[in-house]
Symmetry: C2
Subunit: 242 residues, 2 copies
Amino acid sequence: MAIKTVNPETQRIKLERKERAILDAARGVFVEHGFDGARMSEIARRASIGEGTIYSYYESKAELMLAVLQQFWDGLTLEAEGVMASVQATDFFGRLRALAQYHLNTVILNSDFINLTFALRRNNSEVSVSRDHLRHYVAVFDRLFLRGQDRGELRADAILWQARDVFYGSLEYSARSIEMTMDAERSAREQGPVVEDMVALFRSHYGAVQGIEASDNATVELLSSKFDQLSEKFDALAKRLS
Amino acid sequence: MAIKTVNPETQRIKLERKERAILDAARGVFVEHGFDGARMSEIARRASIGEGTIYSYYESKAELMLAVLQQFWDGLTLEAEGVMASVQATDFFGRLRALAQYHLNTVILNSDFINLTFALRRNNSEVSVSRDHLRHYVAVFDRLFLRGQDRGELRADAILWQARDVFYGSLEYSARSIEMTMDAERSAREQGPVVEDMVALFRSHYGAVQGIEASDNATVELLSSKFDQLSEKFDALAKRLS
DNA sequence: AAGGCTAATTGAATAGCATTCGGTATTTTC
DNA sequence: GAAAATACCGAATGCTATTCAATTAGCCTT
């Protein structure tokens, strides 16, 4: 009969709603003003909450930032997985192109967050985006790469983590170059070449060698020795004829 | 006769010495505690100077940091140029290896400064390491690359800035991976493979195509079979003659 | 070499901000 | 329905970069 049991869900839901409100407010303020420029008071105001209350949800400004960043990276991971799930191409290089396109564009659009992710790592060595979040994100590439190797599209002796560093490192640096030297409009145009170069790079450096490599030195030497044999026979015959 | 002209050099030199003292103190404190962790008071103390005095040399903490960073990058540029001047190899890939080795090692050893360089860019958009300083540093690569193209070691249609992004981007990202996952000792060992992979990458993707690729499998096999046919005819002839 | 002018130096005072904390309101429990 | 527990508040705290009024040192003129 105790229907009056005050639903404990209610409270939990309310707390979760409030936590989300804080996170949303924080994201906005951090994006607008950067980490140092962000005022806890403004975050509190936007979340319609007292300043002190934030601290019962998050230990410190840095940890709040961390939560925002982790949410951000989780979102990216989901999106990247979505891209991989919906891309038409079935071959490695086609899929790589899609991933590169997505990543480059994302990095350019969210450079603030990307920078902050690695900027945080410095002071508060205690507080930094957990490796797992980043690992989880780059795992999208890892799966693609391993599948490429299984299908024989990539060299079997290519080292996954080196390729990964090349992929993400180059794209991130390109993003910095692009946004440093160009306006938004031109930047969109310049993304194409960068992506294509990356695909071509993987094709030529990590791609499984096509027939060509079979014709390596060994083959040529084989031919050469046949030449020599033939030549000897010829000499022998010539001598006999004379 | 006015020998008593008190040398005006004296004063200027004294000021410069003091400026250097501040810069040195600041570098030390920033390295030890990071930007936010650094106390202006400690910098002043280490430079044997009043707190207020710093501000007649540098507008703000951020600008002081900036000066430290610029000094740092200028040093790197000089060192990189030194490496290029003293390396034995004359071919592009040998010299690239030397540069990659130097850069990777440097980035790992000075990750604090590298991070801070790009971290500063965020808040104080007013205060960031001038593009010219970075440009000046990467120009070492640019010169090497252009020379490689002139000498015909690199594809003529390779795009300089894309190659540059790949080079510095990959190495920087690798450095992060290495120092994130490994202790100092193992990290030193892991640098070799990364450098070699980078050189190999440039060879296969940006390197000028060698003659070999003309001889694909089909051609070689065709030649080979013709040889065998000829050889059989020869044997037949020889048998008939005997 | 004395005095005056300018520039450099100082550290106590200011102001801005993250974080804390004592008290109040709200929810849960019995 | 009241006691206990939990969440909330915002004024007070503490820590810093930065400013500024006062002081000192350097330099020039006479």
